[in-house]
Symmetry: C2
Subunit: 212 residues, 2 copies
Amino acid sequence: MSGDTTAPARRRTYHHGDLRRALVDAAKTIVADEGAEAFTLREAARRVGVNHRAVYRHFADKDALLAALAEEGFQTLVAEARAAIARERGGDARLLAMGRAYVAFAAQHPAFFRVMFGPRLNEDGRFPSLEVPIGEAFTLLETEIAAARAERGAAVADPEQRRDDAIALWAAMHGLALLLLMRRVRVKRPLLPAYCDRVLGPTVRGLLSSAK
Amino acid sequence: MSGDTTAPARRRTYHHGDLRRALVDAAKTIVADEGAEAFTLREAARRVGVNHRAVYRHFADKDALLAALAEEGFQTLVAEARAAIARERGGDARLLAMGRAYVAFAAQHPAFFRVMFGPRLNEDGRFPSLEVPIGEAFTLLETEIAAARAERGAAVADPEQRRDDAIALWAAMHGLALLLLMRRVRVKRPLLPAYCDRVLGPTVRGLLSSAK
DNA sequence: ACCTGAACACCGTTCAAGT
DNA sequence: ACCTGAACACCGTTCAAGT
C-alpha cells in the first residue's frame, strides 16, 4: 500500500514483479514453519499463487532454489558472527563469541541450518555464489584465530597452520550445533551461551596454548 | 549352498525366510552405491524381488527401515573406535585414535554416515534401540577422556564436566567428519590420519591441559 | 503369517502452448 | 518475456484381497 498514489496500477504486469524474491521468501517460511522436508517446489509456488511451472523461469531446478536460500542463510550467519565478535575485546573472548553466534543461529533456525548444510548442496561446485559468504566466514575464522595468537606473542603461523586452526574451530562449532539440533544434548535456551563457552573452551584453549 | 543336504527344500516357504535382513542389506547397498537420496522403499523391494507392500510387514514405514540401517551403522562405528583405541597406549594417543577412526568411518561410508546422522532420525525418541550403540559410544568417550586426565594426575571430574568434555570431543570429531564430507576440506586418503591428528590435536590438548 | 494388486495423493521435470 | 496446462515417471502409504 506504499506509494499508492504515485505508482497506481504498476503491478498489473502479470504477477509479482519479483517472483524470484517471493519464491525464496516462501521457501524460507515453509522451511521455518514446517521443516526442511516440507519444502517442495509445488508448495512454494502454491504459496505465492502461481503455477508450479513458473518456478522454472527463475530457477533451474529445486536445488537451485535451495542454493539461493542457503546463500542468504550464510550471509546472515556471517553478519551475526561479525556483530558478535565486534562486541568483544580479547582474542579468546572473540573466538568464543563467534562460537556462541554460530550455535545460536543453528538453534534459532534449525531447519534452515539443516538446509544450508544438509544436502550435498555444493559438493560438485555448482552454485559458485554459495562459496562467497562461506569463504568470508572462513577468512574471518582464520583472521580471528591468528589475531588471538598474536596477542599472546606467538610466532606468525604459516598458511597451512592457519587453515588447520580454522578447520579445528569450525569443526567444533559445527559439531556442537548439530549435536544440539539432533538433541544429543539438551540445553535450555538461556543457558546456551554459557554452555557453548564450556564446550568450545577446550578447543579455543588448545588453539591458543599451542602458541606456547 | 551350505547345509544343502541336511535341509534341502527348506527355503520354499514363500520367499526369503528373512526378508527383513534382505531389505536392510539392499538398503545399505543402495545407499553405498547410489547415495542416500537414491534409497526408496520401492527400490529396496525391487532389489530383493518382492512387492513394495511386503516391506510393511517388517517395517512400520520408511523411517523404520532407515533406523534399522542406522543402528547397524552405529554398532560398526563403535566397534571400529574400540579397536582403534585398543591399539594405543597413552591417553592422548587413544583419544586421537578414536578421532581418526570416527573420521575414517565417515570418509569410507559417506552416504551411510549421512543416513545415520542426517535425517532427524531419533529426535522424537522413536526407535529407542538406536540409543543403545550411541550411548555406548558416548560412554566410551567419557571414559577415555577421564582416563587420559587421570593419567596426568588431574582431579576426578564431576559428571557434568565429564559430559561436557565428551561433547567437546564428539563435536570436534563430528564437525571434522562433516566438513570433509561436504568437501569444505579436501584431504587425500593416505594423509587423512595425520590430518585428523593435526585438526583434533588442539581440542585434545585443550581437554587434557585444563587438567592443569 | 506373509505377500500381492489396485488406488490415492503427492512429487520434480518435460513438452507444447498461451498472453 | 513470463506464465499455464496436460502429461510422465516416480514416490510413500492405505485398503482390500489372495495363498
